[in-house]
């Protein structure tokens, strides 16, 4: 295949403007007019054509790959899947995860006593999800983190736990790369 070199053409552009730019003016009016009437008509028939959405009443469609806030997966038993191995804590570039491991009598005996994520620092990079060997932390599509205090942006384990059936899209997406 070939990579060529081409010269750009700018002579014709100048001519295209016409006398005193009259052509350019008409062209511009056509373009903006078309957009205006398209939007207006869309509004009249109730199918808005405008590009923007009215957040937060409306939201854009998020693809399954969307990386929102990291959350903990809650199994059907109500327990978290996390075994407090600490890999996500290591992988996080900004050190915003804090884990204190504990032990129980269950079959999986390690669990996180404390699992905090400072959402004010988190940059939604997804490295924790990638590092986790248990599929216990995944990126959800939640994006609202506003809080009134600095401490309010720290999410504790109870806030982070999300039932597994609320995350099927993301889990399916993660599982796509299973056997690579």
């Amino acid at each position: 295949m070939a990579v060529g070199v081409i010269k750009i053409d700018r002579v014709s552009l100048k001519k295209a403007g016409g006398f005193m730019g009259i052509n350019a003016m008409l062209k511009g009016l056509t373009v903006t007019g078309r957009h205006f009437f398209k939007n207006l008509f869309g509004w009249i028939v109730g199918k808005p054509q405008v590009f923007t959405v009215m957040f937060p009443e409306q939201d854009i469609a998020k693809p399954p790959s969307f990386r929102g806030m990291p959350v903990l997966v809650q199994m059907d038993s109500g327990k978290e899947r996390c075994v407090a191995c600490g890999l996500c804590e290591w992988a996080c570039p900004v050190d915003c995860i804090h884990i204190e491991p504990g032990e129980t009598e269950d079959a999986i005996e390690r669990y996180p006593k404390v699992f905090d994520i400072d959402m004010g620092r988190c940059m939604y990079c997804g490295l924790c999800e990638e590092a986790c060997p248990e599929e216990a932390i995944v990126m959800s599509s939640r994006i609202e983190i506003a809080a009134f205090t600095r401490a309010g942006t720290i999410w504790h384990k109870t806030d982070l736990l999300t039932p597994v059936d609320e995350l099927p899209r993301r889990l399916d997406y993660v599982r796509r790369g299973y056997q690579r």
Partner: protein
């Protein structure tokens, strides 16, 4: 003045003296007529610039220090924030540099996807630059079309990696996730919408006499001087030098694809604008060919020292689990050595110089950013020009604070 009994000629003489007094004007760091945080100090003789100095550093965050204190894979989110309107190119450049250090090459499907990612990012960069230029020259509507097109470009980002700006897509030895089977249809649809908006954008601006007057013959610099100043990218190509890293030293699959390097002849702002418009066209061509030819196969390197194994294997196999622990906690460990890898960024040659001491974090990670060298050329470009020419010239330099100041 009234009680000063001077004759006419002396008053005229005084007026002339006044003329020779220059005015100092400071533009920025945050100024409505510029985008990017930079301060331009000017000395003006009337409308003419007699002296100027550019001050950068308002966005300095210690990129290199931050990367040197983390592991290799932890630097990816930081590279996103170099040139934040073309994040994927930075990802790709850094990954290629570390892979060069390792001496490995990723599978073909990954190379194609990385090429698509780079070109998508380049489109985003050019749309932002062109739109912002139009905005600052008074064409607000054109800016909106440019930004709308950029949103569509970012939809492709979103589909590939899950984020619109902070992509963190590429990994050492692979990419974060493969694309699904619907990807080709999705990209084709978005590209068609983008092409329509680009047509509107061009219709609004390219034959407009006011716009042409402001762009033509401003910011001129002969190509010898541009080369001496280390200017690369669209600025250099506009002056007629067909230097493009993708063509001169092909990486990824750029040598397997049909595309052209557009060059200008005069090297003024109009040429630069048209080069960028044309490169949007070339990027579209590259993306279309890449999705067409996208081969099947794995996207990640099957090497436990470089790339994490798939989750399915980590859950079920002991070795993979141990490798996962080792790779995450210690980081990939390239052999001792140093490499320089250049890629073509949105604004020119983006180079990564990585020094490894054999440990899991880079001993030295340096980004040669095109914006930095290009911004240094602003002073000679506006020397002796009119004040109003600063705006289009600065727009076409497309100084991105994150990349220039690191």
């Amino acid at each position: 003045m009234a009680d000063d009994p001077k004759n006419g000629s002396a008053a005229e003489q005084d007026a002339l003296d006044l003329d020779f007094e220059t005015m100092e004007l400071k533009v920025g760091p945050s100024h409505p007529a510029t985008h990017g945080t930079v301060r331009i100090q000017l000395k003006l003789d009337g409308e003419r610039i007699v002296w100027s100095e550019v001050e950068v550093g308002y966005l300095h965050r210690g990129f290199e220090k931050e990367c040197e204190s983390g592991l290799y894979y932890q630097a990816f989110p930081y590279t996103d924030r170099l040139n934040y309107v073309s994040p994927m190119i930075n990802n790709v450049g850094y990954a290629l540099a570390v892979e060069k250090l390792f001496g490995v090459e990723v599978p073909p499907r990954c190379q194609y996807l990385r090429t698509i990612a780079s070109e998508v990012s380049r489109m985003s960069d050019h749309f932002t630059c062109l739109g912002a230029c139009a905005l600052e020259l008074g064409a607000f509507t054109a800016f909106l079309y440019g930004v709308e097109a950029r949103e569509l470009v970012w939809d492709i980002h979103d589909e590939m990696c899950g984020a619109r700006v902070t992509c963190n897509y590429v990994r050492i030895g692979g990419i974060s996730a493969d694309v699904g089977p619907e990807f080709k249809a999705f990209v084709d649809e978005k590209l068609a919408q983008i092409a329509k908006l680009r047509k509107d954008f061009e219709d609004l601006l390219l034959s407009n006499p006011i716009f042409i007057e402001r762009m033509e013959n401003t910011g001129l610099l002969p190509k010898e001087q541009l080369i001496a100043l280390g200017v690369t990218g669209p600025l250099l190509r506009a002056a007629g030098v067909p230097y493009d890293v993708r063509r001169a030293q092909p990486y990824l699959v750029y040598d397997k694809i049909d595309w052209d390097v557009p060059i200008g002849e005069r090297g003024d702002n109009m040429d630069r604008f048209l080069i960028r418009i044309n490169e949007l066209n070339q990027s579209t061509r590259i993306i279309q060919q890449c999705v067409e030819q996208l081969p099947d196969g794995p996207v990640d390197l099957n090497d436990p020292h470089v790339r994490l194994a798939g989750k399915g294997r980590v859950y079920n196999k002991m070795e993979e689990l141990i490798a996962q622990f080792k790779l995450v906690t210690e980081g990939p460990k390239p052999p001792v050595g140093e490499v320089y890898q250049a890629v073509e960024g949105g604004n020119g040659e983006l180079g990564f110089y990585v020094v490894s001491d054999g440990s899991g974090s880079p001993y030295k990670l340096r980004a040669r950013s095109p914006s930095f060298s290009n911004t240094a050329a602003l002073t000679p470009m506006i020397q002796g020009q009119m004040l109003a020419d600063v705006i289009p010239t600065f727009d076409m330099i497309n100084m991105i604070g994150g990349e220039c100041d690191r």
